[in-house]
Symmetry: C2
Subunit: 424 residues, 2 copies
């Protein structure tokens, strides 16, 4: 049973989720114009209040330095005028996107005269647990509010001062609009307990979306009783078939590995057909090495290129997110498919081939969110797919799979109009 009358003694997460839930119905009824107006006010306020946000961010950076946070992490955490302008620009782009709420998905009139419509509605209250840069705070808020959803944000403790100030600024902006400010909530308790509690807020949260590293996501998937949309982990393969064009195979492979190794749609393992490998693996390997990629091969690959390190068993199941690549030589497409079945994470997989039959087989038989023929796995992305936004990349099969745009943040409702029909 839903309990929105959370008392003062309830935890911060439960209290704030209850406030969000109370705001959600009103938010769900706003027009697109009302929501867009609110998003634009949010964008303007971020820019107007940039100084105070940067001041709060400085506190986070100082605390990070004292705690020995790495330089690369501090760089991700740091805000400046340009980054704040980019956050505001992100909100303005969401304004431009079509509003999915209210869309008529199905319509039928039954023989008994019942008129049934299936309409797109908000999910309700979305919990987002993340650890990344403060821009996620603005990004997630914009996408959720545009789709009529209230949102409870729980960001990483390293960005707490920044996130608090950002949400203060956004609340002040919303207070001058029709969008209830309570629809946006930030859980400030930096302890693990606040995350643990959010995972169990059934009746207050309709869905949880974790965004972050594998351990954060696995904690949510394993412990949440609230429904979860799993995002993230990608052990992506590129299979170079016997008939692949050499230059194309090289370019796609290089792009999938080195264009941005730290992200989930980058390649971790290159599978190469023996016929191709015998002629071209040595050249391909040279090109990867020139891009500072460490190569780890199976026995057959190392016969062809003895310079490869030996790949350990666990390497085939490791998401490096780094300049490291496994290379395996396979005898045919079946071996490639079997390898992907055993070691893939159902994220993004690619075949490079001129053989139409093998391309069809690969596209059909690989069980993944995105399966590519002759294109880099790096394209698995909401913007690259033309969605204009992305809340994450779902690696589960329920509800949403692959890059999630605005419709992934919606549910449906059947509205049935009759004239006194009863069931016989």
């Amino acid at each position: 049973m839903t309990n929105t009358n959370q008392s003062q003694t309830a935890s911060e997460a439960a209290r704030k989720a209850a406030l969000a839930k109370q705001a959600a119905p009103k938010l769900g009824l706003l027009t697109t114009e009302q929501k867009n107006h609110a998003l634009l006010r949010m964008a303007d306020s971020l820019v107007a209040e940039a100084e105070s946000i940067i001041a709060a961010n400085t506190e986070d950076l100082q605390r990070g330095q004292e705690n020995g946070t790495s330089a690369s992490l501090l760089d991700r955490l740091a805000l400046n005028h340009k980054r704040i302008e980019a956050m505001a620009e992100g909100l303005r782009q969401v304004v431009e996107l079509p509003d999915p709420i209210g869309e008529l998905l199905e319509e039928t009139t039954r023989p008994n005269g019942l008129h049934i419509r299936k309409l797109r509605v908000p999910l309700g209250v979305i919990g987002i647990i993340y650890e990344a840069r403060p821009n996620v705070t603005v990004d997630a808020a914009g996408l959720c509010l545009k789709t009529g959803n209230a949102v409870v944000l729980r960001g990483g403790s390293s960005a707490l001062s920044s996130n608090k100030r950002i949400v203060e600024v956004l609340h002040a902006a919303l207070s001058e609009t029709d969008l209830p400010a309570d629809a946006l909530q930030l859980v400030e308790d930096p302890s693990r307990a606040s995350v643990d509690e959010m995972l169990k807020l059934n009746g207050l949260l309709d869905v949880l979306i974790p965004r972050g590293g594998a351990s954060l996501i696995q904690n949510v998937v394993k412990n949440a009783t609230v429904p979860v949309i799993e995002t993230g982990a990608g052990i992506c393969h590129t299979y170079i078939d016997a008939s692949a064009q050499v230059v194309m195979a090289l370019q796609i492979g290089l792009n999938a590995k080195v264009q941005r190794p730290s992200v989930c749609n980058s390649m971790e393992t290159l599978l190469v057909h023996r016929a191709f490998a015998e002629r071209h693996l040595s050249m391909i390997a040279d090109q990867f090495v020139q891009q500072s990629v460490e190569l780890r091969g199976d026995v057959e690959a190392r016969k062809l290129v003895p310079a490869f390190k030996e790949a350990a068993d666990e390497d085939w199941d490791t998401e490096y997110n780094d300049y490291i690549l496994n290379v395996r030589v396979v005898n045919d497409i079946d071996e490639a498919l079997e390898h992907i079945r055993l070691h893939g994470t159902m994220h993004s997989e690619c075949i490079v081939t001129e053989n139409a039959e093998n391309a069809v087989r690969f596209l059909q038989e690989v069980d993944a969110a995105a399966v590519y023929h002759n294109a880099s796995t790096r394209f698995t992305d909401g913007f690259e797919f033309g969605f204009g936004a992305e809340i994450g990349i779902s690696t589960q099969k329920l509800h949403a799979r692959g890059p999630m745009g605005l419709p992934a943040l919606t549910s449906t409702k059947y509205c049935i109009q009759g004239s006194g029909q009863i069931r016989g």
Copy 2:
């Protein structure tokens, strides 16, 4: 990481889920004709083997009698030639339904030439945990296999002998078809441990669908780490507005309560606008009493009809599934909406009114899978909605909401064809 090489020491549930997972890719590639042929063979075999199924069922019935099972439960458990023919007929009806697999849902060509298709694919392996009659075994198997999904069934221990024999018969039928028999698995361990284990088979099961009473469903929702589609609980309301036609309101209310009180889309609480109640509640109450319905009223309802029992606080949150009805008098539609928001389970809700504005408000503002204007909540059903089948009624907002037909048992996959595109 997925592990399909479950050793002999793995539990029965894990071993059988692994077999199902291995069978799933082959099943997913079958044509509609191949799947339909298999379903028809299953139907024919059930009828041909009816005697042996009835013999096994007799064992269940005897065990039930020895254990003191109630007569109504024994009746639900009992199989005879007519019921087995009905199970076979159910499979034949699934054959007639369109196959959703392979459906092209979206198609786009991006400015860079990437051709992106979003296709409907099977979910993979579906776990179904149920306690109901043995017909669920056949029903669930038919719906899952038609949609290219392997299925791991875990039925109630009271029907174990029946379920074992049914699955033996279906396996024998499948062995003469292209559909891999391993795609259908029955977990026979009757202990609670086998359920507990299924809840955690991430990587082997893609989704769990519990079917049964509230405690079974809550156990699955609260403890599963595999994604769940929640079905079931329905505390459904009918709100009679001031302007409702009297006869229509009476007929819809009676139908929602007494046509089949034991099911989730039946009504538990009648909300009546004061203006309507003052004129008609006494007459309405008489009609319910004539249908053997016990009535429990709030203070205001009891002022109008002193014969009502007093409704206790917890009654408003109770799914009776019985000839009991709560009655509350409200001052306006806002009070009705607030009551439903606090006590509804987002299943099915109805307004009876001639006021178009109130009808629109109710349809828009009530957050439920199915919202009715001037029709009985009893229509929330896959067959009544024209889906031709129903795997259950989802009361969650993710993936599927409301009656679930075949498309609810599918996922999607992006297939991307390029000509060497790389990301810049």
